[in-house]
Amino acid sequence: EAGVAQSPRYKIIEKRQSVAFWCNPISGHATLYWYQQILGQGPKLLIQFQNNGVVDDSQLPKDRFSAERLKGVDSTLKIQPAKLEDSAVYLCASSPRGPHTDTQYFGPGTRLTVL
């Protein structure tokens, strides 16, 4: 079974530029998560989708971050414009159903550096 795929693996941009990350979850998984992991900290949930609906985006900085999950499969996370403090690893995860007791399966992450 293929795991969670993310691209790109690395991205370097200057502040005020835009960037987009892509995630393809494990086939058949209903729930998709985007996390931000700043160096030295644990992952912080940005947004959670159940199929193509948003379950939780309470920690998503909506003035600059946006995410979509069209057709309930893959997803894109966008930052526009980027700030220095957005430098982090962006993790995508998926789980089979949706309860918060489900095991989450993580992708390798995208390391973003904002200069």
Binding site: G3, V4, G40, Q41, G42, P43, K44, L45, Q48, V55, D56, S58, Q59, L91, A93, H100, T101, T103, Q104, Y105, F106, G107, P108, G109
Partner: protein, 114 residues
């Protein structure tokens, strides 16, 4: 709101020695608890979780964790570590409500010394 504390950011230990990685949480309601592990150059993966029942849970590679409600702890232990256990370990908590996000601790970096 719930939170997770992992007091030890780095834990060096010699091969075949025992190890304990500490995790404490705070929550006003009952919780579910998890340990995730991130091996070098790999994504996070679930190591073990406590949902209900026996307070002692085990993983397939010899780790165990015990849920202690009175001390609000979920420490991870292994009696004899291997080089391959070198990784970052994250404790996580979510509240036993209809829905709650999973909150991760800051992580503990375990380095096994040959």
């Amino acid at each position: 709101a719930q939170s997770v504390t992992q007091l030890d950011s780095q834990v060096p230990v010699f091969e075949e020695a025992p190890v304990e990685l500490r995790c404490n949480y705070s929550s006003s309601v009952s919780v579910y608890l998890f340990w995730y592990v991130q091996y070098p150059n790999q994504g996070l993966q679930l190591l073990l979780k406590y949902l209900s029942g026996s307070t002692l849970v085990e993983s397939i590679n010899g780790f165990e964790a015990e849920f202690n409600k009175s001390q609000t702890s979920f420490h991870l232990r292994k009696p004899s570590v291997h080089i391959s256990d070198t990784a970052e370990y994250f404790c996580a908590v979510t509240q036993k409500t209809s829905y709650d996000k999973v909150i991760f601790g800051p992580g503990t970096s375990l380095s096994v010394i040959p």
